[in-house]
Subunit: 255 residues, 2 copies
Amino acid sequence: MTSFEFFRNRRTVRRYSQKQVSTELLESMLEAASQAPTTGNMQLYSVIVTRTQEGKRALAPHHFNQPQVEGCDVLLTFCADFNRFVKWCEASDAKPGYDNFQSFVTAVIDTTIFAQQFCTIAEMEGLGCCYLGTTTYTAPEIAKALDLPARVVPLITLSVGYPEGEAPLSDRIPISAILHEERYQDYSPEAIKAAYAAKEARDDSKQFIAENGKQTLAQVFTDVRYTRANNELFSRLYLDFIVSQGFSLPDSEVK
Amino acid sequence: MTSFEFFRNRRTVRRYSQKQVSTELLESMLEAASQAPTTGNMQLYSVIVTRTQEGKRALAPHHFNQPQVEGCDVLLTFCADFNRFVKWCEASDAKPGYDNFQSFVTAVIDTTIFAQQFCTIAEMEGLGCCYLGTTTYTAPEIAKALDLPARVVPLITLSVGYPEGEAPLSDRIPISAILHEERYQDYSPEAIKAAYAAKEARDDSKQFIAENGKQTLAQVFTDVRYTRANNELFSRLYLDFIVSQGFSLPDSEVK
């Protein structure tokens, strides 16, 4: 299989077999992933490995009890981490200036690159992964459950294990709708229609609309899955938490 | 080569040969990368492809004239993009609620996953890439050069091309210093020392300290590479820009 075929056929895996991921394999994958790009070679991330049933059970409500939390073999919480680097600076007679928004964004990029490199390596080893978007919704609770100190913010959770059954291939919009040559070409109504036409025509999309009692697929997103009320609530909770963990906002304070 | 060996040996490539990356290959790689995980299958990103010498020259100062901007074959600017999705919602009788910080963070994660998946695919195809950290420093200027509309924020720039010569392998701290079992084990002074000992002992680190007239390696970061003054300046500029692009902060306004 060429790398193109492999990447075009990757799937998100939510159901896992009983087969365990050995500690040796897990650490080898994480170590290989740490060779991924990182800003200034600072490696601004940590990962918390949850393998015990007790640990997964404690985290499950913070992921809205999605079944893959308790159903996976290993749960990995990837955190944007300036704690280790700042402690190194302080131990090295250096005055760190990383208690700010730019540093947080840098750590977010570093952490996501690392998590995605791990995900790719795991998939190439025959494992399956699922990103849990809930991590930024309940960060304070996750941080408490995992004893996260200041300057450490949970960002991404991956459930990991050997796949049970075959996971479906997700659809994507045409790459032409994502690519812009030299300058951003804003979308005309026709371009938007073309970009989402195939997605809207899918049977599973129609089923999704019907199940949720909506008229359009976009309404399932705006009214059910990612609502304004939730987005605004989680914006406040997450930003407050980031600030409380030591990343201040410039010239303003979050109430 | 196993995937472990491949990922453990990947390098950041800053020097490129004259060989061109064909448009077909570039689009195939981006298309394969778009199968990477994405929140709720929303694909909250766009990529601007800069291939013309004129386009690269216009962007170079916004990347502090790092030579790989004009020296690469293709420059890719990955943007967190809620514009396309919001336009789809509006065209679909759905009321989007994505003008907030949580939505921005979601788009940042999506965009970084996509960029890193592209980077991996490109490296497996024999190409070399380099992340330019400058993108979040000069976002307003980059946005202007690339005609980015509201709800689109530049996040990551990758220079891409066929490698010229062999790039060095970067060191990384031991994976044991990044991994935490079940709960975060905060770092003792001894643990910090152990984590950074090998890095500090390297000849290139010592040379780096000497070249910058510093006493410790950490001081090169705090006093030269990523200073408080710059971080605070870029925090303000980037956050102001995010807000001006339509992602409001909760309960407060950036001055």
